[in-house]
Symmetry: C2
Subunit: 321 residues, 2 copies
């Protein structure tokens, strides 16, 4: 049993040993560049820690964790193009530093390398791992598509919004945990609980993102407050506001979306206050957080084995940045 930081260290060592070929340089250098930006490696670490609930770490789970992290980075590289993002973790994104064709092709080859690692899994597990991996990969694309579709819509229902963040973010966290558990020999029922745990945690995590954008402390988040509001991003806040607003209030919200002046953020926030959106979001985050802890409680291994996972969940769910 290892803590988050211990597992992270071991993963970084294993992951660094995965080297891309040296040529063609313009294909592989951007892959290494993105991977070197770091990140918390939450998904592979959750996969490994979930595995350790049931068994000692082995080659199967190391390769699966690596495949997950490579695939995640592939989606980041392509999402950054689609979202026209200039920066990631303070560094120029791949399409900015290199160019568009490079970001497309380097992303493509990185996704194939995930499957190179998956193919190193024992025959006993390969079909079930590939099945969940593929299903999740497809769902991530579907979530990204929904997110893009939302850009041209004024109104996104809360149900649609929740579906989008489930697909775009939460299923991969759920799948990471489930894959770890499956490879650790957990029963179907048990690995399903870990899937649900990861998914609930992922949803709470994502909603916290929306929360921090509007109500966070910019000295902690390092971001300007209200970035989502300025860009009319479809968030929990906006969908919830539309859901509970009466027709006059809806009209007012639609008018706020049309605005581009300096007071837009402040006026939207005061509208959210009027509708108690902050409290409603806090309740929702708490509900998913509680559900996550309840699910972890249900996993049929002794509590001592869950301590580190519980700590990691706390770290992820109590973040203020």
């Amino acid at each position: 049993m290892h803590s988050y930081t211990e597992t992270l260290d071991s993963f970084e060592t294993f992951f660094a040993a995965h080297e891309f070929p040296s040529q063609p340089k313009k294909l592989y250098e951007p892959c290494s560049y993105l991977l070197r930006m770091g990140g918390k490696r939450i998904r592979p670490v959750l996969c490994l820690m979930s595995h350790e609930l049931f068994a000692e770490l082995n080659e199967n789970v190391w390769h699966t964790a690596t495949a997950i992290e490579l695939f995640h980075n592939f989606t980041l590289m392509h999402d950054d193009i689609m979202d026209k993002a200039p920066l990631r973790r303070g560094f120029a994104t791949v399409h900015e530093k290199y160019d568009l064709p490079t970001a497309i092709l380097s992303g493509d080859v990185m996704s194939i390398f995930s499957y190179v690692h998956l193919n190193k899994i024992n025959t006993e597990y390969i079909h079930s791992v590939m099945e969940l991996f593929n299903r999740t990969a497809i769902e991530i694309c579907e979530g990204q598509q929904m997110d893009m579709d939302f850009e041209s819509e004024n109104f996104v229902s809360l149900a649609e919004y929740m579906k989008m963040i489930t697909l775009k973010t939460s299923v991969l966290i759920g799948a990471s945990m489930k894959l770890g558990a499956m490879l650790g020999g957990a029963t179907d029922g048990c690995s399903d609980i870990l899937y649900q745990f990861g998914k609930s945690m992922g949803l709470a995590f994502q909603m916290k993102d929306d929360y921090l954008d509007a109500f966070g402390d910019s000295s902690k988040t390092g971001k300007q407050i209200g970035g989502d509001i300025l860009s009319n991003k479809k968030t929990f806040l906006l969908s919830k506001a539309f859901e509970i607003a009466n027709s006059t209030q809806r009209e007012a919200l639609l008018q706020l979306l049309q605005r581009n002046d300096e007071a837009k953020v402040a006026d939207t926030l005061s509208y959210f206050e009027k509708l108690h959106i902050k409290e409603l979001l806090e309740q929702e985050i708490q509900a998913y957080t509680n559900r996550a802890y309840e699910l972890l409680e249900k996993v049929p291994v002794i509590s001592k084995r869950k301590v580190h996972l519980n700590d990691l969940a706390k770290m992820l769910l109590n973040r203020e940045s």
Copy 2:
């Protein structure tokens, strides 16, 4: 044993039964749009016909052929973005008809669907099929990168050019045949021969492309003669010309590359004539063609079983459009 057209018909039926989910519409509609443009389905058909040299068609090979065709179309969708191509088979390319993010994401999801099909292969074969499939997929990306790198180079050696077309085009034709053979129970040695056969045929096919662009009959190819010359595309012709030119001739060739006037094509063609490039290319195509037939000859099954494959090779190698 079935002919090309019979196999093509059966494949189209199987392939049409693969349906993408209906939602999100903007994600999956472009996939179906590209697949409906048709094409000769050379790769899956070669996979199936190679399989039939050894065994009756079964689910393993149908899914593999499907994975190959989906992967091929994924590369087309992304290559068209990178090459800024407005048309494919007379239809607007996906990024033109829809938009850039759509062409990226729909391509991504199509590539994942290849792996969904590969995961339907029996456990006995999955590792070896995935290994060759992944290696080939990586090589295709490397070939595309080389091709893009060539754009900013004045001079590409013949060895580099041959490596690029090998990776970008020929290995997938070789792999399609080898995968079919492997799944048909062929020995390693035997399926390697079919790999080499496919690769040689792919190279001859690709060089014929260069040939037809410069020396073809535009009433048959449907393309303006000299398109590659106009756009300074690095072809066999140009690399061969640079290879055999003396320093004065090289200088003249470099000057031709700088030109953009109406006589550029004609002047370049007459320079090629001076260097006997047409004949040298014909010889090279013939050499790869001969090698392909010799390899097919070597496959240890009775000649009668090879008739249809021989006919298909003839069709591919003797094409004038």
